[in-house]
């Protein structure tokens, strides 16, 4: 009598243990980031490995905000990431819609070409990109970063958007067009509201990708005014020492915009909005 019941309970426990273990492994570095950022420099090496320091300090945060260029990097990163996210999502939504709904000449090759761009390691194209960007005045500028991030994120974002459009039945647009809407009107009033989760996911994906990108930001921009935060983090590493406390404090600060961003869009990330559109 207790057989299947016990079995189910054990499976349930195993399931949650596995999920718990994953969460701990995934979040532990973040916790360590926070812990080090509030540990006074004097205690950093003297207390051994402890889960929480015996005394806490926000001195690192104060120092990062008052005495470094971090606020500037922060603003730069926000501008670059937000613009990239919006541009990429707009273009990717258009491309994804076309891939999902239309058949046109060269579609196969276009998709293939977009895939190919994703296959090269970025390091390979850094030098040519630099040579192209320098005469155009796109090095040492945020615009340059926005251009290259947008270009590099579009293929994946377009495929992502396509999969969301594929999930919306064609009949919905057809019904709207018969009801008196133009194709654009049908997309705006019917498809767009239903694609909000997809748009939110794409925005989030590109925003984080741009926010944490280091290679291009490091190679294309050398001037302080056009430095983004990942590059800025490197300034805490000097030849002889690493200022762990400030670096971690900066890292924690850098998490804030991403967290806020996901907090704003998380409502739209829930799926299941299309349930009930067609036969359930």
């Amino acid at each position: 009598m207790q057989g299947p019941d016990t079995r189910r309970r054990l499976l349930w426990i195993a399931h949650y243990l596995a999920v718990g273990a994953y969460v701990v492994v995934a979040l532990f570095p973040l916790f360590w980031l926070l812990k080090v950022s509030v540990t006074p420099n004097s205690l950093l090496y003297s207390e051994g490995v402890r889960l929480w320091p015996s005394t806490m300090t926000f001195a690192h945060y104060v120092s990062v905000i008052r005495h470094t260029d971090f606020p500037l990097f922060f603003v730069n990163s926000t501008i670059v990431s937000a613009t990239t996210a919006v541009l990429t999502t707009l273009i990717a939504a258009g491309a994804g819609y076309a891939f999902s709904r239309f058949t046109f000449r060269g579609k196969f090759w276009l998709v293939g070409l977009m895939l190919v761009t994703q296959m090269f390691p970025l390091v390979m194209v850094i030098a040519p990109i630099f040579r192209l960007f320098a005469p155009l005045g796109l090095t040492n500028s945020l615009t340059g970063l926005i251009v290259i991030y947008t270009a590099y994120n579009i293929p994946f974002a377009a495929f992502l958007m396509q999969s969301f459009f594929d999930g919306i039945p064609r009949e919905l647009e057809e019904a709207a067009m018969i009801d008196g809407a133009t194709r654009f009107g049908a997309v705006r009033q019917i498809v767009l509201p239903l694609t909000l989760p997809g748009i939110a996911a794409t925005l989030g994906f590109t925003f984080t990708a741009a926010w944490s990108e280091l290679l291009f930001a490091l190679m294309l921009n050398s001037r302080q005014e056009a430095t983004t935060f990942p590059v800025g983090l490197l300034t805490f590493v000097s030849k002889f020492s690493v200022d762990f406390g400030e670096m971690m404090a900066a890292g924690v600060l850098a998490l804030i915009p991403v967290c806020v961003f996901f907090l704003l869009i998380q409502r739209h990330l829930v799926t299941g909005l299309t349930a009930g559109a067609v036969k359930g």
């Binding site: 039945p169 009949e171 919905l172 057809e174 019904a175 709207a176 067009m177 018969i178 009801d179 008196g180 809407a181 133009t182 009107g185 009033q189 019917i190 509201p193 239903l194 909005l273 299309t274 349930a275 009930g276 559109a277 067609v278 036969k279 359930g280």
Partner: protein, 353 residues
């Protein structure tokens, strides 16, 4: 003036021609059912009337106006989809008022139109729900309501009942028919269900292989099928189809099924092999002295009647009777057919002789 006129309409999808020249005129207020097996082109034809698919050649006119190059929104037609295609993020009210809002109808008029339609369909209480909170039958009604509020020139139905269970389908069949009687709007209804076609249509258009096989009233198609396709597609259980031959004898030309003579036929058919069609309910039980002997293979009671599967000289033949004969498999029974009930077809082309 015809409500809808289709002339020489063809449609190619790549190298495949799915419609091979369709000519059809639909009268105002008529309820026309397009019927045929999957892939016969009936849905494509409907989508071309709606403007969702382009014509490869030919023309379509609605109310005398050529609409080939008109967007769906400018054709003033309403369509009910098989999947209902309700807007999931809108309430029932939102779904039903969508088209009127696009036309910038005054909100009071919209409210009245929606209330009327909801009342007509018995969905007043559901008006503020989202589609996902509705059952299949309720969604179907909302889809109908969305079409009705517009008072369009024509209603198009694309297999609207196929997702419903049998009882609900029967009920909706009746309701759609009643709505059509009350509203009197021209309707084109696509289905693969011959019972829907028989019960609902003013006229049936039977299609196969991208060609119209026959157009006529339900009973015309049932009683006088133009070819073997229509004969086999309309009616359940299906018409019996048997090979027979016409033999010249002293008395005239006899239609022979194996060794049995069924009827006399015209002289011109001397020596010709024909395909013989006869409805199962027209095959009658007879006595040993007047009937043709057949072996009973299987008996299917349907409640309404009995379907008896017979072996007649190596060919299978179905008999349907509403009497309840005490017969069982393995017996030999005797049948007879009236000459008037026999339909003859050319075995090569399938065309009625």
């Amino acid at each position: 003036m015809k409500a809808i006129t289709i002339e020489g309409a063809t449609k190619n999808f790549g190298p495949v021609q799915v419609l091979k020249g369709i000519d059809l005129a639909i009268e105002p207020g008529e309820f026309v059912v397009l019927i045929g097996p999957s892939g016969c082109g009936k849905s494509t034809l409907l989508r071309m009337i709606a403007g969702l698919d382009d014509l490869t050649s030919g023309s379509i006119s609605i109310d005398g106006r050529r609409v080939n190059d008109l967007a769906p929104k400018d054709r003033d037609i309403a369509m009910v989809f098989q999947s209902y295609a309700l807007y999931p993020h809108m309430t029932v009210r939102g779904n039903m008022s969508f088209s009127l809002k696009l036309k910038r109808t005054a909100s009071q008029a919209i409210g009245r139109a929606v209330a009327n339609a909801a009342n007509l369909l018995g969905i007043e209480t559901l008006i503020d729900r989202k589609p996902r909170e509705l059952s299949g039958g309720q969604r179907q009604r909302v889809a109908m309501g969305r079409a009705i509020v517009r008072k369009p020139k024509a209603f198009l139905f694309d297999e609207p009942l196929s997702n419903l269970d049998a009882r609900l389908r029967e009920q909706m069949r009746f309701e759609i028919r009643k709505l059509h009687r009350d509203l009197g709007a021209t309707s084109v209804y696509v289905t693969h269900d011959q019972i829907e076609a028989m019960t609902m249509a003013d006229r049936i258009v039977a299609m196969n292989g991208g060609i119209i096989q026959q157009v006529g009233s339900p009973l015309e198609l049932y009683d006088e099928p133009a070819n073997l396709f229509v004969a086999g597609f309309i009616g359940s259980p299906a018409m019996n189809v048997l090979s027979a031959s016409c033999i010249r004898t002293g008395a005239g030309t006899e239609l022979r099924l194996g060794a049995s003579t069924l009827a006399m036929v015209e002289r011109g058919l001397d020596g010709v092999s024909v395909t013989l069609g006869i409805r199962p309910e027209r095959v009658r039980l007879a006595t040993a002295d007047s009937g043709i002997a057949a072996e009973l293979v299987l008996v299917e009671p349907t409640g309404l009647g009995t379907v008896a599967h017979l072996n007649l000289g190596g060919q299978l033949l179905k008999l349907f009777t509403t009497e309840r004969p005490r017969i069982s498999a393995g017996e030999t029974i005797y049948i007879r057919v009236e000459p008037d009930d026999i339909r003859l077809f050319d075995p090569e082309t399938g065309v009625r002789i």
